[in-house]
C-alpha cells in the first residue's frame, strides 16, 4: 500500500513535532531532514493547521507545534485530511456493481480497505514514536538497504 505524498509528508511533520514537543520547528527544518520539497510541505502544514492538528507560532523563532495530544491523535486522523481511507462504498449507479464479478471484486477490495482503516485508526502518533524508538526493523535487510541508499544520496 502507498500513501499519497501529502499524507506521508504530513505524518513526517506530525511525528517530528510530536518528538519535539517543547520546541517549534519550521517547515524548512522538517523538509531538510526528510529530503522533501519545502514548498509542498508548507502547503501540507497549512492544511494540518486548518484541520486543527498543528498550530503556527509567528515572529522570531516561529514555527509549528502540535496542537493536539499525540496519545489521542491517530494515523487516520492525519491521513484523512489528505485522502480517503476505508471502503468508499461504490455508488449504486457504479457499473462495477452491475455484474457478479464486479460485486465480488468490490467485496474483496472492501475487505482490504477495512483492514487498512482498522490499522490506521488503532495506531496513535505516540505509538509511532515508541515504534521509532524500538526500531523492530533493525536487522531487516529490506529496510537496512533502503536506509543505506538514502544516506548515500544525502
Amino acid at each position: 500500500m502507498k500513501l499519497q505524498k501529502a499524507s506521508s509528508f504530513a505524518l513526517y511533520a506530525v511525528l517530528e513535532l510530536a518528538e519535539n514537543p517543547t520546541s517549534q520547528l519550521s517547515g524548512t527544518e522538517i523538509a531538510d531532514k526528510y529530503g522533501i520539497s519545502a514548498h509542498h510541505l508548507a502547503k501540507v502544514l497549512r492544511d494540518l493547521g486548518r484541520a486543527g492538528i498543528v498550530e503556527a507560532a509567528r515572529g522570531v523563532g516561529g514555527g509549528y507545534r502540535l496542537a493536539v495530544n499525540a496519545k489521542r491523535l491517530t494515523l487516520l486522523d492525519v491521513i484523512q485530511v489528505f485522502e480517503p481511507i476505508g471502503p468508499q462504498g461504490a455508488a449504486e449507479e457504479d457499473p462495477e456493481l452491475a455484474t457478479d464479478a464486479g460485486c465480488a471484486l468490490r467485496m474483496v477490495l472492501d475487505e482490504l480497505d477495512d483492514h487498512a482503516l482498522a490499522t490506521f485508526r488503532s495506531i496513535t502518533i505516540s505509538t509511532m514514536l515508541k515504534l521509532m524508538t524500538r526500531r523492530p526493523w533493525a536487522g531487516s535487510s529490506r529496510f537496512t538497504k533502503a536506509i543505506r541508499k538514502a544516506a548515500a544520496r544525502r
Binding site: 491517530t74 483492514h115 482498522a118 488503532s122 495506531i123 496513535t124 505509538t127 515508541k130
Partner: protein, 156 residues
Amino acid sequence: MTNAITFRKPREIHIRPAVNSDLLGLIALDEEITGLAKRKYWKETFARYGARRRLSRFFLVAEYRGRIEGFIIGEVRAWEFGEPPCGWIFTVQVRPKTRLKGIGTQLFETLCDAFRHAGVQKVRTMMARDNQLVLSFFRSQGMMAGPFIELEAALD
C-alpha cells in the same frame, strides 16, 4: 503462583494472580464495564484459568487499595496451526475511571513476563476490528499484525 515468576509491584498497584475471593469483585468490574452480569461465565473462567494454578494459564488482577481495578487472562497455546507454542491473551479490562494510569500496561507486561517464564517467544491476541480502544492499547504495547489472517464463513 507456585512458580518463580516475580510479579511487578510498581507504586501502590499490585499485580497478582486472581484468587477465589476476587471473584465477586471481578464480576462487578466486568458488569461495570460491559453492562452485563455474567456470574456463570466468570465462575467457569476462574475455575479454568485462576483456580488451578499451572505454568500455562494466567489470570492476573490489578489491585489498588484493596479493590480490583483491572484484570488480564492468557494462556500458552501449543502448536496451533503448526506454530511453536505462544502466549495468547483473551481479555484485558481496566475500570474506566482508573484508565490511563498504566494499569493495563502493568497487567500486560506482567503477563508477558509469565509467558517468557513459560518459555514462549511470542504473544498474540485477536479482537474485533472495530474495537478501537483495546486495539489501540495493544498497539501501544508494541503489538503488530501477526502472520495469520482470521477467516470465517456463515454456516447456512
